[in-house]
């Protein structure tokens, strides 16, 4: 079956070439081999679940940022159970899903790992740092999902590539389009995830949906 298809593809390609058409880049041998054996392709895997599972899951799970942060401060386990996820074993921190709305009070856009700081409670001080790429730190989106699990991957390398694929996708889909100028003072609305921060540090929020309005 597949050899028949391969043969037809060659015939079509030859016909196109004969007709003087421009030949579109064909997959390399490696790519062909990978798709043939159903090789590990994290970008495809993440792309397939993004709209159908990832965004709806976070949208459903997310609490208002101030509520999530307040509950995490008073009762971390309760906040985790309600808004968060973590692996059953090991010592990874909770990763929370949250809906963040507020005013941008600081913008660092020169670094490759650019971010804006957002005041969510109106006191003029930053409550969260939102990563706006292109370099996104950590694996918060992957770690916030209760339907993906390290144990289903061959090893840490594939698990890491999978984690990065979420960042790559959100970068292309959401963050690249974001204007970078005069962000301070604008209003930000986002849905996303952040790992429980270390003491004294701002939550490092990774958005899956983001709007910035004047």
């Amino acid at each position: 079956m597949s050899s028949t298809r391969g043969a037809s593809a060659i015939i079509v390609a030859v016909m196109m070439a004969l007709a003087g058409c421009k030949i579109i880049k064909t997959p390399t041998a490696e790519e062909t081999a990978q798709s043939a054996v159903g090789g590990f392709d994290p970008d495809r895997m993440v792309g397939e679940i993004w709209d159908s599972k990832v965004v709806p899951y976070l949208d459903r799970k997310a609490g208002p940022f101030s509520e999530v942060a307040a509950l995490a401060a008073s009762n971390l386990e309760a906040a985790g159970a309600k808004y968060g996820h973590k692996e059953k074993q090991g010592n990874a921190p909770w990763t929370f899903a949250a809906r963040l709305s507020g005013t941008i009070v600081k913008a660092e856009t020169k670094s490759r790992s650019a971010y804006v700081e957002v005041d969510a409670d109106g006191d003029g001080k930053a409550d969260a740092r939102v990563q706006i790429g292109p370099a996104i730190r950590g694996t918060a989106i992957r770690d916030s999902l209760d339907f993906v699990n390290f144990n289903e991957f061959k090893n840490q390398i594939e698990w890491a590539q999978y984690g990065k694929a979420f960042n790559t996708l959100v970068n292309g889909l959401v963050l690249e389009k974001l204007p970078r100028d005069q962000l301070v003072g604008k209003k930000l609305d986002a849905v996303g995830a952040y790992p429980a921060p270390a003491k004294g540090q701002l939550p490092l929020f990774v958005p899956v949906q983001l709007t910035v309005a004047g």
């Binding site: 074993q89 090991g90 990874a92 370099a135 730190r137 390290f150 090893n155 840490q156 984690g163």
Partner: protein
């Protein structure tokens, strides 16, 4: 009740040993197999595991495989032959070790892996490993900051057969490669070895005197690199390691190496023994086989709190 049962078992074993040619079964033995203790990281694992095992009332058999898969296979045979109830293993290669762990399983001896995973699940009971990717990203972020987001640098890689060498390198590059003004001028394996890192660093430095930083896959190689750099009078070069050894802690405090990433080696080994104990006594497995332990960045701000692969408060 439990004591009675154990005594009955012991009596039975003694009877078997006395009355037949069967090998004498040690009552409650845990085998602890790691790479060479020359690297303080592996020593800390073995010490941590041994302390926990003794605390729980086990005898221990501490062995080293020197990253030799054949030797590891023989040691597994030894552990099986000695009637170990469990094996705590920091393995000698993510592919090559699968067969060895399977062999132990087939002989009825469960394995609890620490530090390094194997490319298979369902063979070991537990695989408790540092989150090397997360740790490498922490180290790389600090490195990028120290480098001021620009300049030439060198990467020292670990042993190729060890998955951790690859995952740390990937973690480093997923961060560093985002900065186009950071240029890697040399990338070489020093096989986790301090002496090898020293000689590799000497050679690299001759070919590339214009380097500004060195990022290393572990602490022993970072120690080798800093020694070579200091011998060449290059105290300006930024060195970042991975492991959180006391040697690197002391170097950080004296202004040598700038940062490292702590793997909770001692805690990991103890956790593995606890899980082995639970499995031996109740037959209960941990909820998940593969378990990740997050790493912590160590620099001049918190180096004081570091002692034998654990942070004190």
């Amino acid at each position: 009740m439990k004591l009675t049962r154990r005594m009955t078992m012991a009596a039975f074993a003694a009877f078997l040993a006395a009355g037949s040619a069967l090998p004498a079964y040690a009552a409650d033995l845990i085998a602890i197999i790691t790479p060479s203790h020359d690297n303080p990281f592996f020593k800390a694992e073995a010490v941590g595991a041994e302390a926990k095992a003794k605390e729980l009332g086990y005898e221990t058999l501490v062995l080293v495989h020197d990253d030799d898969a054949n030797k590891q296979s023989q040691l597994i045979d030894t552990a099986i032959g000695r009637g170990a109830k469990a094996i705590i293993l920091d393995n000698a290669g993510s592919e090559a070790s699968i067969a060895a762990v399977q062999k132990a399983k087939d002989a009825g001896v469960p394995s609890f892996l620490i530090d390094r995973e194997i490319n298979a699940t369902g063979v070991a009971v537990s695989q408790i490993v540092s989150n090397n990717y997360q740790g490498a990203q922490l180290g790389a972020e600090e490195f990028v900051k120290l480098m001021g987001e620009s300049g030439n640098y060198v990467e020292l890689l670990g042993r190729e057969s060890d998955l951790n060498a690859g995952i740390r390198s990937k973690g480093y590059h997923d961060v560093i490669d985002e900065y186009t003004e950071l240029k890697m001028v040399a990338q070489q394996s020093a096989n986790w070895s301090q002496t090898e890192a020293y000689s590799k660093m000497e050679t690299i430095l001759q070919a590339n005197p214009d380097i500004k930083g060195v990022i290393s896959g572990n602490d022993t190689m970072a120690m080798g690199a800093i020694a070579a750099l200091q011998a060449a009078g290059r105290k300006d070069v930024i060195v970042v390691g991975f492991d959180g050894s006391n040697d690197v802690r002391d170097s950080i405090k004296s202004g040598g190496i700038k940062a490292t990433v702590l793997q909770p080696a001692y805690a990991q080994a103890q956790m593995a023994v606890q899980q082995a104990h639970d499995f031996i006594t109740t037959g209960k497995k941990p909820a998940e086989e593969k378990q990740l332990m997050d790493c912590v960045l160590i620099n001049s701000e918190n180096a004081d709190q570091l002692e034998t692969f654990a942070l004190t408060n």
